[in-house]
């Protein structure tokens, strides 16, 4: 338990270390999610139109 507390406090630097890692995680998730969402929408859109055409 105390070792977990020690880990989270980062020797007193926790208030700087964890926001840095949290922000990195957010940026990475956005970088993965946005292209995938855009791609899925475009694919669905093109599929719909191809289905309607013939």
């Amino acid at each position: 338990m105390s070792s977990l507390h020690e880990f989270l406090s980062m020797g007193g630097y926790g208030a700087y270390v964890w926001p840095a890692y949290g922000l990195a995680a957010i940026v990475i998730v956005i970088n993965i999610a946005l292209p995938l969402r855009r791609l899925r929408r475009l694919q669905a859109d093109i599929r719909r139109r191809a289905g309607a055409a013939p």
């Binding site: 020797g11 700087y16 791609l39 475009l42």
Partner: protein, 247 residues
């Protein structure tokens, strides 16, 4: 024979080929990225000892250095793709540049913020207008300018060309960022020597750092592949190959 020597190069000018290859490669890039980053995080946050001067505060290095490195590496990709697009009038190269720029902007933003979170406890300030920090901020504005300019035209070819010229002019900023800590006095530390007998970083800290740099690079490659796919579909949504590719 000569006719076939450049066949591989021409294939990369073909949207359906690049769309397919990017879709095939992306998951492999993502796996390499995920595994190296998990190993790097374990080594960086847990297994490596605290720094003798900065205690545990130095651990910001494992996100700061990879994102700062990527911010510049990605600009190199944008500029090289822009040059290829301008010289050989290769539409796909412009597509790659446009797809890469938002990723570069995001990693530049991350490098600036993590650097400022590192600067506060170590330097006593979140921000100083010194050469390294200012030139990295200019890099962010170059990305944003490129993104805005390449979308500013009705005709995507005009936007591609205008953005590409801006990207090439901005290349002058890369050596300025790199050498800023040598040319001007700066709060930011100089380059650290990674390898050799006079290496300035311990192996237990170096290995996780290299794993994180490696992981971030493959993450960038995976995201870029998916972005290129999206950009290609967007631009060629009315083509026969696009309808074929999404079936």
């Amino acid at each position: 024979m000569d006719k076939y020597r450049w066949a591989w190069f021409h294939r990369f000018g073909s949207p359906p080929y690049v769309y397919r290859i990017a879709g095939l490669w992306a998951p492999w890039f993502a796996w390499v990225a995920g595994l190296s980053m998990v190993a790097g995080l374990y080594g960086g946050l847990w297994a490596s000892p605290p720094d003798y001067q900065q205690g545990d505060g130095f651990r910001i290095i494992y996100v700061h250095v990879p994102s700062a490195y990527l911010s510049m590496m990605c600009y190199g990709v944008v500029a090289a793709a822009s040059a290829i697009g301008l010289i050989w009038r290769m539409k796909i190269a412009h597509t790659v540049a446009v797809a890469a720029a938002p990723l570069g902007a995001s990693f530049t933003f991350l490098a600036l913020i993590t650097g400022s979170l590192w600067g506060r406890p170590m330097w006593g300030t979140y921000w100083v207008w010194d050469a390294r920090l200012t030139s990295e901020l200019i890099l962010l504005f170059l990305y944003l300018g490129f993104i805005a300019l390449s979308r500013a035209y009705e005709d995507s070819r005009s936007g591609d060309r205008a953005g590409a010229v801006l990207a090439l002019v901005g290349v002058v900023n890369l050596p300025i960022i790199h050498y800023s800590v040598v040319w001007w006095s700066s709060l930011h530390q100089g380059s650290t020597k990674f390898f050799g007998n006079d290496a300035e970083i311990q192996t237990s800290m170096l290995v996780p750092l290299l794993l994180m740099i490696f992981g971030f690079t493959f993450l960038f490659a995976a995201c870029l592949a998916k972005r290129v796919q999206g950009e290609l579909l967007e631009r060629e949504r009315h083509s026969a190959w696009a309808a074929e590719a999404v079936r």
